[in-house]
């Protein structure tokens, strides 16, 4: 039952997750901060490249912030508490890939904000790692993984009129950010297997 024990060991507090969520809350409450860090396509193309990454921490309404932060907070807390590896890479790589992906694939999108891409990545990563654990947790993770993946596919396919209004302004959900977050999680999850495979294939390694 080594896996069970590793699952439930007392890991340190989820510092990284708390930092990521706190940054989102800070960006929301500090006046005028959002305008400096929001993903703004024109500003990015004119050199303000930090917005590619920092845009993930901007939220357009309280409910937007609450849903994104709560999901990321809970998923991140479980990842850190269970001691799953490489989660820091998820927090570092996914904002970059989401920003770059939107810049390349969504030329009509002028402004973007929200932690949901990273949150989706965290949920996918948590459930993928959970598949390696024993007991009911594995089945719970499999169920949530299937449901979350299905939802991401559905929202990507049926996005035509899926607008929401925030402060009376139309606001388009961007399912691509969820896809990119999920893909980042998959890459990070697969990375150790790929690395081991490459080591085995390299002559002289492992002998």
């Amino acid at each position: 039952m080594a896996t069970q024990k590793s699952q439930l060991r007392d890991s340190p507090n989820p510092v990284w997750t708390l930092m990521v969520v706190a940054a989102g809350i800070l960006a929301y409450v500090v006046p005028n901060s959002a305008s400096l860090i929001v993903y703004d396509r024109a500003a990015i193309l004119s050199g303000e490249v930090w917005r590619l990454i920092t845009g993930n921490w901007v939220h357009f309404s309280l409910s937007h912030l609450v849903y994104d932060s709560a999901t990321l907070g809970i998923a991140g807390w479980m990842i850190e508490r269970r001691g799953y590896p490489y989660y820091k890479s998820l927090y570092i790589i996914s904002p970059i890939l989401i920003g770059a992906g939107l810049l390349a694939a969504q030329p009509n999108l002028q402004f973007y904000g929200g932690l949901s891409g990273i949150a989706c990545g965290a949920v996918v990563y948590l459930t993928l790692q959970g598949l390696r654990d024993a007991g009911p947790w594995r089945w719970i993770c499999l169920t949530v993984l299937l449901l979350t993946t299905g939802k991401i596919i559905l929202e990507s396919a049926m996005n035509a009129f899926a607008f929401v209004k925030v402060d009376d302004a139309p606001f388009a959900p961007v399912p691509l950010s969820h896809v990119l977050g999920g893909m980042t999680a998959l890459l990070i999850f697969c990375w150790p297997f790929a690395r081991d495979l490459m080591r085995l294939k390299t002559p002289g390694v492992g002998s």
Partner: protein, 291 residues
């Protein structure tokens, strides 16, 4: 001394004349405007080659009444007959457009609603006029409102009392019947394609004295327009839902793109949050049992 037979004949003639005047006193007023007359003036075969509409979301919607094309009155008129009710005044048109526009506003994919005054629409202006409106008001889609209202006025048996003169002032012997249809045809201006349409109908029955008949007809006319607009709003909602489904299921007929310069965001929906919360609750329970 005239014989009693003379009085009987006179009275009988009066009754016949009164009866005839009652039976002949039906009036019919008709106002209408037509989208076909506006978009395809003088064309017996209105065919326009519509392209595939590209809907840039969020969308800007215009609402306008097409110019009225016909007013007529038929039937027997007397000195008591009401003057012809004027067609829908501009103030009422704006109020009706606002009623309909408020319904569109709630949809998140609608960016703005422009109420376009009648002065901007030329009779028979066709798509050239719509292109001008598109440039002036910056709208992509326009809801063209047309109407058809018929008002019938009949004199009932109570109108016999008009012979007393005082009855014409106090007895509501004029029965009026107002039938209205307001129709909204929603066009994508650039592609010339009608996206969907919806009607709204109303029937109002009333009565009046001959003296205030004209006022009553105007009141009923306005009330009937508002009632038809309410019905139209309900039908428009249904048609809009169907249209959204159609866009999803027939991508070859409609193309939906995101408007350049739009704002978007990643948003987690309650479904995912509930799933993750469930996982969190299980983890807590697991930890508690382990300890």
């Amino acid at each position: 001394m005239k014989p009693a037979r003379y009085y009987f004949i006179t009275a009988g003639l009066l009754i016949v004349v009164a009866g005839l005047s009652i039976s002949c006193a039906t009036q019919r007023q008709h106002h209408n405007s037509s989208v076909v007359d506006y978009l395809y003036p003088g064309k017996s075969d209105p065919i326009e080659n519509a392209a595939i509409p590209v809907l840039s979301l969020p969308i800007k919607v215009g609402i306008a009444f097409v110019p009225g094309s016909e007013q007529s009155r038929t039937g027997f008129t007397t000195n008591f007959s009401a003057p012809m009710t004027p067609p829908l005044p501009e103030k009422e048109k704006i109020a009706l457009m606002k009623e309909i526009g408020d319904n569109f506003k709630k949809y998140p994919f609608v960016k703005s609603i422009e109420l376009i005054p009648s002065a901007y629409l030329r009779p028979g202006g066709s798509f050239t006029n719509l292109d001008q409106l598109r440039t002036m008001f910056g709208v992509d889609v326009i809801a063209l409102l047309s109407y058809d209202q018929v008002q019938f006025t009949d004199e009932g048996m109570l109108s016999m009392s008009y012979w007393t003169l005082a009855g014409a002032y106090v007895v509501r012997g004029e029965k009026d019947d107002t039938n209205t249809m307001v129709d909204a045809a929603v066009y994508h201006i650039q592609s010339r394609k009608m996206l969907f349409r919806a009607p709204g109908i109303s029937q109002i029955k009333g009565s009046a004295t001959p003296v205030n008949l004209s006022e009553q007809l105007r009141t009923d006319s306005t009330a009937s327009f508002h009632e038809a607009a309410k019905d139209l709003v309900v039908n428009l909602q249904e048609q809009l839902e169907l249209f959204q489904e159609k866009v999803k299921t027939s991508p070859e007929e409609f193309k939906v793109v995101q408007r350049p310069g739009s704002t978007g965001g990643g948003g987690i929906d309650p479904f995912v949050l509930i799933l993750v919360s469930g996982m969190g609750a299980y983890s807590l329970w697991q930890r508690k049992n382990h300890n």
